[in-house]
């Protein structure tokens, strides 16, 4: 069993564009403090930031659980929101339901979920329409990707 070294939970609010990124930033700082490899920290930052942006853009609220074990960094995002009807479609690069307004903010080109997957060693996305979405990403500390 992997040993948990650090665990923190954060709340993210839908529609709160100003605060989007704060959770990612805190996670980055926590990882830096314990001396994790910068490449792994960057991957965790990208994963969390894209996931946070999705919560801000599409969901009502979410809990982000960050865990550092002696084996990996994991980011779990449970959101309350509309859910995703077709997860495979949502995973396709370029697929997006973002509005023009979201695009003007530099997101909404259908790259977020593929970016998250690319930076994860383990990636899971489950959703229930009308309830919400659960995203799980793990990044191995031994660097295998």
């Amino acid at each position: 069993m992997p040993e948990v070294l650090l665990q923190r939970a954060f709340e993210v609010r839908g529609g709160d564009f100003d605060k989007a990124g704060e959770t990612s930033s805190e996670i980055k700082a926590l990882l830096k403090e314990v001396g994790i490899d910068p490449t792994l920290i960057r991957r965790a930052g990208v994963v969390t930031f894209e996931a946070e942006m999705n919560v801000v853009m599409y969901a009502e609220s979410a809990t982000v659980v960050f865990t550092l074990s002696d084996e990996d960094i994991s980011i779990e995002v449970f959101d309350r929101g509309p859910g995703i009807a077709d997860v495979d479609l949502a995973m396709q690069e370029g697929y997006s339901t973002a509005t023009d307004e979201m695009r003007q903010m530099g997101f909404g080109f259908g790259m977020g979920l593929p970016n998250i997957k690319k930076n994860s060693d383990i990636f899971k996305l489950e959703s229930e329409v009308g309830k919400g979405t659960r995203l799980y990403s793990a990044i191995r500390l031994d660097g295998a990707s």
């Binding site: 564009f17 990124g21 990612s24 910068p38 930052g45 903010m105 530099g106 080109f109 790259m111 970016n115």
Partner: protein, 114 residues
């Protein structure tokens, strides 16, 4: 190329990180799409963008980019500048457009990321 030489070349104003201008820039990434920059991070690169919202600074932070250059005369608000300063990210702003900025930097040997 040092950040301070880039500022001079592009007649850019330095809005944050006046003490970071000795950073050496070998690579730049240019886009108004933040996911695009996040998709191919080049740690240490200069980020060139016309997107002035807070997400631009967050993107630089997540991708480990030490400096952001805003083009087309766009100016980020104080909150962006403060966040950048807190994260030790230099912020420059030039009146030149994206194409000219990239061309001028390329001529002087800065390479493109992505």
């Amino acid at each position: 190329m040092k950040l301070k030489d880039i500022a001079t070349l592009l007649e850019a104003d330095v809005l944050a990180g006046a003490d970071l201008l000795d950073i050496d820039i070998g690579t730049a990434v240019a886009s108004d799409g933040m996911s695009e920059i996040l998709a191919a991070p080049h740690p240490g690169a200069l980020m060139i963008t016309g997107l002035i919202n807070i997400q631009s600074i967050r993107t630089a932070e997540m991708a480990d980019l030490p400096a952001v250059l805003y083009v087309r005369g766009k100016r980020p608000n104080d909150r962006c500048v403060e966040l950048a300063a807190a994260k030790r990210i230099a912020v420059l702003a030039t009146r030149l457009g994206m194409f000219d900025v990239c061309g001028l930097l390329r001529e002087r040997g800065v390479r493109g990321g992505m």
